[in-house]
Subunit: 468 residues, 3 copies
């Protein structure tokens, strides 16, 4: 018995189910556009075999290990490294057994769906994972990983990825992208400009980072003019490695549109380390507007990811460091916060600002109305932790009536879990086709229009919005 | 092939679909009660032909042109007037072509559903609007508009409108309502008392407006007692033109219940122009309570519309003026904000206060519990921009279990788009019947009760709540 | 014709309906675990007949009388006691007639479903309640209540209650639990430790209450050390009457994790009556953390119920007193508010903290992510007034993808309406089975796993989380 239902996530009523199937059959094999994610460019550059199954599926995936941790499984037993980089458990097979024993905790979660999908489609596994099958599945995956056709570039091609974006710090010299380019490989892997380290005064080592940006670019980043020039310079450098976007993770959606004199003064205080918490926040907000201005010149798409309370547990942060599943969404306000940016640049139809949200209450109330009128503003797909079927469906139900389809930008996988990429895009395509099928079946959308929209959501909108 | 599905918006499963059809067949032809809207009384008074198709469907409808603007279509090309009243494009046919070319942007939106409905039902059009049909459809509508049976009063009767309310400023002399009355036409068009201009200290020309109110009413509005008397006087005047309600659009849901002495002092500061932002806000809040007190005497229904951030873009406001699609809902708090008003008047079963909301998170959390206990408080239908099928359904799902059906007031169309009125009421009736059918099919409501409730929601509750 | 549909609340599509039926048939007869509620221990202790039908169904049920009040029915006519304890109407039959006349106001509400369920299953009534059947139904119930098999213990056994918890003040000497124990009856009725009166500085008579706690426990509660010791002592006393949990109703979710010195100083101010509003709130927040520390020692489960604005109407509070249907949910923030408590104790897998919510916007945004990572934290079932089918379904849809099933704790009925207990658990079981059936039918959960999860949600999780 195959594990995956061919009709999974489709509506149950037969007419809408048939419609969903028909729509999906037209988009299931479209190439993947992955315009925002966190896969490691080194994989594609070196094209070495992936490490063992635990390193592929468990240890780096905070959705998996946080859920097990929440039920009393220790991170040490799952091989999650401590803050100092050492891991208590390094035996892949032992980690895998703990994972298998607790696999039921993932029931009905997106992680479970990705993993089952990857097991079946990528590795051809038919059994369910559990204590009794753990070793056999481990051995099978381990064997696969040693083979040429499971190397990163082979999977990239097998996954039918037309273009993928990684994300790198503004200070990153981009060696792996250079190595890829020099290798002559034709896979399209682009970088994205992530300047948090040199834009956020609260980032560790901010002053040193800004100084380093000056050195890299040959600009005097001690001055406001030089600092801006350094950003422009660095964005151009990223563009030579294919970058079409910048990305900004801020605690809130605050933006500012200060005068040049005010901004310069604020920059001075920030650099002198004398800015208050509010001034540091204002600086982050002003830099979004500065980036939008640069985008109007150089064409990079501006992505804003606000609203995560990161590393919520000080205890766990001290023991295990960042990104261990303790990023918690907070209420986020967009109407007043985005206004300075939107007033400065929001009516420019040649600019693209993509806003992501973790607080879904803002969708129908704030974001769909804003995206439904400001030409520059587009809504990123729902970004609340999982790429969840329920969340995706709510996203469409809460935004389409006010913002339509064309102020959204298709799907982002936002992942570092390489094998989950086809599964995530497949889920998004299924959910969107189900949504469209339901609209057709209830007389809200013409059938022929639904086919066009399905193609737009699965492929064209992402490609167009991100200029890929 | 007809464009509209006869079963649109009904549940898909056959038993609930059959129930929805049966319920709908009992209410589809009920007269329309439109107790809150913004059609122009001049139409009914003069009964002249409507202008060209672009002036009927495109130029005045901010739901239509904002969506096109959001995708880079200029407002000028759509004939939207600039702030000075002039329009860049005045050729109806050219505007119509731009509209037709971009009609796909409205896919799956309520606007698309209204327009298709009006095309088919009002104008008998069978083709889809698009670049190739734009001229033919334009000509057809234009021809129709020249005919007697497409004049406002003829459509009013054809639409089976039993009663409709317009909305006029407290300072409006109501000439069109007078002209209607004098004409002997029997169509029931009533006014509603909208005193924002003389109640909101931040309204343009507030002081002069209050002075003018004094002149009109013969009261000394420089004193608190005279100001209140002027309101009472003016409300009576509006009542002679059928008014059964007052309407109040405030940025927040704040109310106050100050002592007479405090209120009088606050009024003094407001009139002197020395009130702080918070005091001006407090004055607005106190005036809601004052209006509620007057309502207890004169029987007008008090309507509160809080939570819109109006004219969000200063740039667009400067170029195109108010009401260009830039009204954005904000988070709105009701529990603490309505408390002073509810404590002053909320337990009076003879008073009716109807609250509208743009922030649907308040429905299950705040508004349904409040309406489910305070006798005076009723929930207006969901007011978030469109009269959207998804929004209407969520409204029922989020309020019924806590507030029941009888603390809601049926449907409002809230529109200035005359031809959309039957379409909007039809959508509301279909959604409510679908909701009821689902309750019956899942054993939560007796079938015979559902027929009674369907009638209540489509007709009786609006008529009763608004005393029409 | 039976009133209740055997398939009520199941999905309508036939495959998922069949699945829901199959799942439900496995859990419908499982014993009831009612780990949190407000039934009166005196009932079980004395085992006397219940009073008349109005006293059983109308007068004590604020869901019922608040809805009638919201439509203009006076509380006096429903026999609701005034603040002084006297009731204007004491004739059960007259009250019952008013109730029957207005029974339609409860259409499609959970209250209606409980009452119909109890009428049919507990009392064998076949007719619908209405003005014409009111007297006959009254007489029938009244007759039943006089019979031995309708006494509290008989119903307890007939309802198949395996364990139920009542809730008592920390100052309560627990006479009824003692009487039960002494009687030799084997029904499992345990108490829960509710210390609001001695923990909340704003509670009426707080200082006297703390002094009384000292007397009861023989500790010097004027000192911080003695105050803590008194709590420990009292918790042990409650444990001897079966308590496995403490319960805390706070206006917000605020917690604190102050140093010992800070806490002692704060306690001093609170006891001296010189603490500011913010300090009193901080003290409540600190006491949650203190209770969590005690729980780590003595094993009591910590329950937090934040976010209700209680007794919203001062007018009604003055006339009728507390708990008259005027408790209104407020927006509640958990991410920052729970952080001190979670940092102090949240990673301990041996501690159980159950958080309830009235603000469902926090489910996907804040609570599921928190419960999905902190080992101590579990989500209580949805607590917004009614145990509503729509609310229960939204709870699963909003939490499962992020928190899974195993960070939730099954169902609580939270009621003082004894006859509604089987109906409420039945509704929860039906909704959960419907949710699971839909997951299976859409390929998101294996069928055999669904049977296990259905059992977990209906029985095992509550028993395990509450250690019953």
């Amino acid at each position: 018995m195959p594990r995956l239902d061919d009709d999974r996530l489709f509506p149950l009523e037969s007419r809408s189910r048939d419609l969903a199937r028909a729509l999906y059959s037209e988009v299931r094999d479209l190439p993947i556009i992955s315009p925002h994610g966190h896969t490691d460019p080194r994989w594609y550059a070196e094209n070495k075999a992936f490490a063992d199954p635990a390193q592929l599926f468990v240890t780096p995936d905070h959705y998996v290990f946080r859920m097990m941790f929440s039920q009393g499984v220790s991170l040490d037993s799952l091989g999650v490294p401590r803050a100092d980089g050492t891991a208590a458990e390094t035996d892949g097979r032992k980690i895998w057994r703990v994972f298998a024993e607790n696999y039921h905790l993932l029931r009905a979660t997106p992680s479970r769906m990705w993993i089952d999908h990857a097991f079946q489609d990528v590795f051809g596994i038919e059994e369910d994972l559990g204590p009794d099958t753990a070793d056999a599945i481990y051995d099978h995956i381990d064997d696969c990983l040693a083979r040429e056709e499971f190397r990163p570039r082979a999977l990239f091609e097998r996954f039918n990825i037309e273009a993928i974006s990684t994300t790198e710090s503004a200070l990153d010299p981009l060696p792996w992208h250079r190595m890829m380019r020099d290798s002559g490989w034709t896979g399209k892997v682009v970088t994205a400009y992530r300047p948090d380290a040199v834009v956020d005064p609260d980032f560790e080592g901010f002053a040193a980072n800004v100084a380093q940006l000056g050195e890299i670019t040959g600009e005097d980043t001690a001055t406001w003019a030089g600092y801006l020039a350094a950003h422009r310079n660095r964005r151009e450098y990223f563009k030579t490695f294919g970058a079409t976007s910048s990305d900004h993770g801020h605690p809130t959606a605050r933006t500012e549109n200060l005068s040049d004199a005010e901004t310069e003064a604020l920059f001075g205080k920030v650099m002198a380390g004398s800015a208050s918490a509010d001034e540091r926040d204002a600086f982050r907000g002003q830099m979004l507007t500065e980036m939008a201005k640069m985008s109007r010149d150089d064409g990079l798409v501006l992505q804003i990811h606000p609203g995560a309370f990161r590393n919520h547990s000080p205890t766990m942060m001290a023991q295990y460091g960042r990104d261990k599943g303790f990023d918690i969404p907070s209420p986020t306000e967009f109407v007043r916060n985005l206004r300075p940016l939107l007033d400065a640049a929001g009516t420019d139809p040649n600019l693209t600002i993509i806003v992501f949200m973790l607080d879904e209450t803002t969708l129908s109330r704030e974001l769909a109305p804003l995206a439904g009128v400001y030409p520059a503003l587009k809504l990123g797909p729902p970004w609340w932790f999982f790429d969840s079927p329920e969340g995706m469906m709510r996203f469409r139900q809460l935004t389409t009536e006010t913002a339509g389809f064309y102020n959204t930008v298709g799907f982002n996988d936002d992942t570092r879990a390489f094998c989950s990429i086809p599964a995530r895009h497949d889920v998004a395509r299924r959910v969107d086709c189900s949504y469209l099928a339901n609209l057709v079946a209830t007389g809200r959308l013409a059938e022929r229009d639904a086919f066009e929209v399905a193609h737009d959501l699965a492929y064209r909108l992402a490609k167009q919005a991100y200029r890929l």
